[in-house]
Symmetry: D2
């Protein structure tokens, strides 16, 4: 079975395991207070061009989202999110369990707009009794989105402006950040993200690490006492250096972007094959997740060999799937898949 169902089917990029093995018997302080975490944080701040930022390493996406949002909000404050946002649909109510209301906005291609955000705020503050509804305080978006799509730099700047006008933090979920930064047509840089977001994270789990997300907090208000939040949520790893070593490896010579670029290239090959096969797509994604719509019999045949994620029925005879590539996707596997798609489509 060849897995294309997600971007975390394998372990880590081999250089990470090598580095973990090399350093294995060194003794260091725990909880992220070690030289590797410090170096990795320095490197990330440099590459973000954000010397004043605080960088913390956490273990996974849901953990990161719930910890960051706890730090962003007082109890009565809410998060504006696309209805399709990971926090709204795939985290088992983690944010609400932290006490916060999510205000879900209709999404288009996984995205929301500055105008939508502004409308929510206007409605809140113009109400006779604003205190009867949760107070909007943070905007949550993903780059790339759940559907692999990207915000343009212009779109992000407009969202930032609306955030400034409405006293909102902007939190960018970067679980797949690298895939976005290296996507064809993308015009947003890591430095842009660091300027525009109050806090964001650089996902490692889905791009080459065993596990790990690097939270970059550029807004000083959110930096204060962040480690208390981490500890309280069980998000300080005892052997914190494991995270530092991984991110150091990923960022030392831009391995991170290189791995992401590879995945995108593999995805583009699959995209092209699907197009040649005459398949439609749910979303027009330039990143490592592709969402083609397949005839059910074609899907059934493919699934004898390949594993995909299911996105639901489109009509009686067609289903949408998600095909994921990753740093570890082998060109020969992609070649086999695309050949099969073309063959089955009769093209």
């Amino acid at each position: 079975m060849l897995r294309f169902n997600c971007d975390y089917c394998e372990g880590a990029h081999p250089r990470i395991l090598e580095k973990l093995t090399q350093t294995n018997l060194e003794q260091t302080a725990g909880y992220g207070n070690d030289p590797y975490c410090r170096q990795a944080a320095e490197l990330i701040k440099q590459q973000c061009n954000a010397p004043q930022a605080a960088v913390h390493f956490l273990c996974g996406g849901t953990q990161t989202n719930l910890t960051v949002l706890a730090a962003c909000l007082r109890p009565y404050q809410s998060i504006i999110s696309p209805v399709s946002g990971h926090i709204n649909v795939h985290e088992a109510g983690a944010i609400e369990a932290t006490g916060h209301h999510i205000e879900p906005l209709p999404q288009e291609f996984g995205k929301i707009t500055a105008a939508q955000i502004a409308r929510v705020c206007k409605a809140h503050w113009e109400d006779d009794n604003p205190e009867f509804a949760p107070q909007p305080r943070t905007v949550y978006i993903s780059f790339p989105t759940e559907y692999g799509t990207l915000y343009s730099l212009q779109e992000l700047k407009e969202i930032r402006r609306v955030c400034d006008e409405n006293h909102l933090f902007l939190f960018i979920d970067g679980a797949r950040l690298g895939y976005g930064l290296t996507a064809p047509g993308n015009d947003v840089t890591l430095q842009d993200i660091a300027v525009l977001a109050d806090v964001f994270y650089i996902g490692g789990t889905k791009i080459g690490a065993l596990f790990g997300e690097a939270v970059v907090i550029t807004n000083p208000k959110l930096q204060k006492d962040f480690r208390y939040f981490m500890k309280q949520k069980g998000a300080i790893l005892a052997k914190g250096r494991l995270l530092g070593i991984q991110f150091l490896t990923l960022f030392e010579d831009r391995l991170y972007l290189q791995l992401a670029r590879h995945a995108n290239e593999m995805a583009m090959i699959i995209q092209k094959a699907c197009q040649q096969a005459g398949l439609k797509f749910l979303y027009d994604s330039p990143t490592n997740q592709q969402f083609p719509v397949l005839p059910n019999d074609m899907l059934a045949t493919l699934e004898e060999t390949y594993s995909f994620a299911h996105m639901g029925c489109v009509d009686k005879n067609h289903s949408a799937i998600r095909i994921c590539t990753s740093w570890a996707t082998r060109p020969e596997d992609v070649a086999q898949l695309t050949a099969d798609i073309l063959k089955l489509s009769g093209k």
Copy 2:
């Protein structure tokens, strides 16, 4: 200024104040452990035809909703609610602050359907990883709804069936229950509600009491330890008898339903006048809340004399309002209002 903006502009029905005054210097146990609370609970159970029910008295709607839902749910479980449900829009995130996700469903006239609920459950349980989303466990509806509309007995029975099939509690918010029970065309009785809901409440604040909601728990699973939830939420009144005395007065000779019926009658007079004036309505409500759409200039003139709740612009020249009547609404005030509406409309 004549207030029609809500149904709690005045104090309590005079008999309630008389009874509070009569009993004022009696000494009783606190916290609801007094004879008045016991008698009121007995009476309510009788009128519900639910001898096995537990009845508790709380102070207000939001407090009741958050306390009841805490008792209905484990931390990872969610509430299915119309998007317009009071808990979703007017309680400052009280339910999320208690840790729970609300699954908002599109509403029609403030209502949701059994089929919608069934679809949500099906989607949840058919997912490959159901544990990645909150687990549906309780359905929250209001009778009447936020928009004054009513579920038919048939609709409620279908919702109950879907709840049974999907292991869901049914919680009916009855902040305005009396108005629903006595509405023209309603076919649902208090006894029906007690059979169909696992837990519901009988609103006193909006129908004749100074304050107070009587929670009726028919499902034994939800009865256990309910007073712990109340205490933890600050919902056990020290001088609990104040609530017992009020509900005893309201239920002793069906005063409750009589007061509600009066409010509905006043509302129907207003409804008819609006219809005669050629006004449209946002919702077709048979209860004490009416939602006419007025020309803006007509509204401006009326608001020199009357106070309404605003429901937003309908178009450039029209706005929707809410007109509320209550047990305390005086026929002469309604006569004046309807005369003014007709006059201003030129009818």
Copy 3:
């Protein structure tokens, strides 16, 4: 049965019921946005000599404590409290349910000292990893304490100084504030409390009101958005004026202090009788709660006529009880009780 078991056995002072009856059919805005609440708040600010304070009216003690502490704390911050503090022992975990750790300090006569508080803070901040423990942020004390005892002005000033030195809010639970202010030997005024505390409340439930606590917030940091907290906790009463009217009545001509003084006087008569009877006391209380230790057979006889609160066995033959007086305690009942105590003690 004559009840001396608590200070909320009766309803309200008659003038409160009269005022509620007089104003009953007036129409006002809801949620505390009415003239009575405004006037009551004004009056309280004047009598506190705190024109910049914000005053809010809530329904009961637990509700007030959990709402105020939610406003005082970020999620990782804790409350320093005497181990005997109401929030630590009698609120069903309401504060923890709001997400916060209570740091219980050993109490003496219900009180804690500035030195104890300073030690907790020192230990926290000197730890190598302070973020591994909750961060002390608020001191909670009661005036009078659970045991009827009082802090001296000097003691409160020292606690305030330690709070200033350690970036701590000081929250004074005044559920029985009036009894403290009017106690023999007390040297603390309402104005002192307003200067020393960041936030405190004036208890109405236990001193003459049907229900109600007036929260006085002197620290502007805690004033912001407080009504969101109230709404989220179900602590905004729909007919908010009921609270305004009650506090207006209590503060218009210092009725509040007069009622408290009466209760204290009744308590002193009981105290003296117990002393004459040779009884010891658990605590030396100058307020309306007295804690004598009685021979078990004497207690059994008294309990045929009187109701007390039990404080536990002291030894095989003796038990401690709490005797409470209130604004409603009748001198003739006290005379009867003290006569019986003296008679049974053979004095």
Copy 4:
């Protein structure tokens, strides 16, 4: 600098890294739904002699504690814990942030007794208003304790009996379980733990793994929906197999116990040297943590070469420290340390 300050200064036992490297490019399902997790769970169940148990893998101790306790408790229920319990002092209020009160009991050598637990329950249930205090529902103890001490089998059986009598779950924190099981004088087996506890965990982070705790749930009531709790707390690792592989390696040929035994042996050598040096101990620990009391000047000299954890001043001239050994502690480092201790003590 030689680190004896904790038992997680190094990475993982080399066989774990080898196994991770070997399996690195395999493709498996995520979230713990992989063959390695299944095999590891099977092996653990076998070695626990608990075929009906559920085994889940989480990342760290605080995460595990807060997730397990969320599953054990309704919102109003509390945890009985030694005041020195990790959840009470070193988790930044993680349990309270989950909504629960911890009832801290005085500890002796880090332990609590069945009699203490019984007294707490008796006091709760005999109260006139038990619902005014959190309801005891779970006992939390650690094996070994924070101070390296152990419960005897008899003590654990008595605690179990009291739990049965009082409707309490027993949760045993086994962050250092292996050190306890292999300690000289210990009479408790892994199978005993599985019989006595409703839920416990086998700590990997502190005994040979990179990270990871294996939760063993023997009580079926706690098994239901446990993965929802995990997901909601961010405790399902995307590449879950990383945990399965580690525990498989640790349990395949009892490597786990072997590593723990080594650490204990190293600790006993240090213990003996301290005794020979005439040092006293805070606690009499048979496991990998030793708590000697040192003259301050001796400590200062040792700290030029070694790193310890500080346990506070004992008197003006003496301080207590914690010396930890681990699976990775080298005999030559222990030899050097003990030689230095003896030399500095003049023995």
